[in-house]
Symmetry: C2
DNA sequence: TCTATTAAGGATATGAAATATCCCTATTCT
DNA sequence: AGAATAGGGATATTTCATATCCTTAATAGA
């Protein structure tokens, strides 16, 4: 069970978009080049963000993507779910129904206890992701990245932002 | 990102094994029939439990599986990891290395902040699974399942346990 | 108005992983 | 001796992630 690499891509792209000056857009092409990713496929991930309403887009030259909300109002969970989907990671196939001792026409009361426990763990994962804002990530990146690399990257992006 | 259905199978099978009297074994055939699962493929899941040391096995007629430890000393995480593997659900491909502004020969200090956050959520999921013992599941099942179905199921298993 | 550039999305190809079955071997019980 | 079992290798099938290509509509700038 491994998350799509598109999740990683989307998170990094959002981090870049978070640093864009008000009203500017950044294209798939620039984001793909900056991260060394296949442009066409990255485009699918960005479309997922767009469909989820996390980013705004505009067409034409100087078009591209920008965040739809301030970075403090975007959580990791928003981004992960936009790309990976909101479905739970544990699917209950209700195999207890196959119990040969089960009376004919018997109907289970609630969700299977196995599923209930697995879903609680799933929810703990989501809760953790919900607690991290995109702004937390940019703050962590600011500490992690040397000042000169941070600066040159920012300028690289600005040159390409429409 | 969805867990293998083998995880569900293994959890249900362990719940059955937890009810087995001391020293008795239950075969793949019986476990597959009880849950309505493909015997050959379920066998692979049980082999994973065996390789992880969670169950003991014995050969021959009246052979099969039993728990290697008391149900209170087996956690959900033990079982999930035995089948699904211990790898993290988020893989960091370190795409920050592709930053075109990155100086030649520059080496990242620690793990990528994005990965660090995703791994924390992953750990929260594991922590939750680690906190649930197999005995907790059997207790929940005892409350969930009507007494007569519980009893007839137990007898069904006993008849087939070697 | 014309041209270049963009996002959106459909179609399709490729690769890896989950799912499933089959068969052979060694072991153990009756 | 014979039957039933776990273990495990080989292989097929299906599903999904990954990836590319192409068309369309919108937009900016010349």
């Amino acid at each position: 069970m491994i998350l799509k690499s598109q999740v990683e891509w989307a998170l990094h792209c959002c981090a870049i978009l978070a640093g864009l000056p008000e009203g500017r857009y950044l294209s798939t092409k620039a984001l793909a080049e900056f991260h060394g990713l296949p442009k066409e496929y990255l485009s699918k991930a960005l479309q997922s963000l767009s469909q989820a309403g996390l980013v705004d887009t505009t067409l034409g030259p100087s078009g591209g993507y920008r965040l739809a909300r301030p970075p403090a109002e975007l959580t990791f969970l928003d981004i992960v779910e936009a790309v990976e989907g909101k479905a739970r990671t544990f699917v209950c196939n209700n195999i207890r129904e196959n119990n040969p001792c089960r009376p004919q026409g018997y109907c289970e009361s609630g969700p299977c206890p196995v599923a209930r426990i697995m879903w609680e763990a799933d929810e703990a994962w989501r809760e953790k992701l919900r607690a991290v804002r995109l702004s937390d990530l940019t703050e962590a990146l600011a500490l992690d990245i040397p000042a000169d690399l941070w600066k040159s990257s920012f300028e690289w992006v600005l040159e390409r932002a429409g």
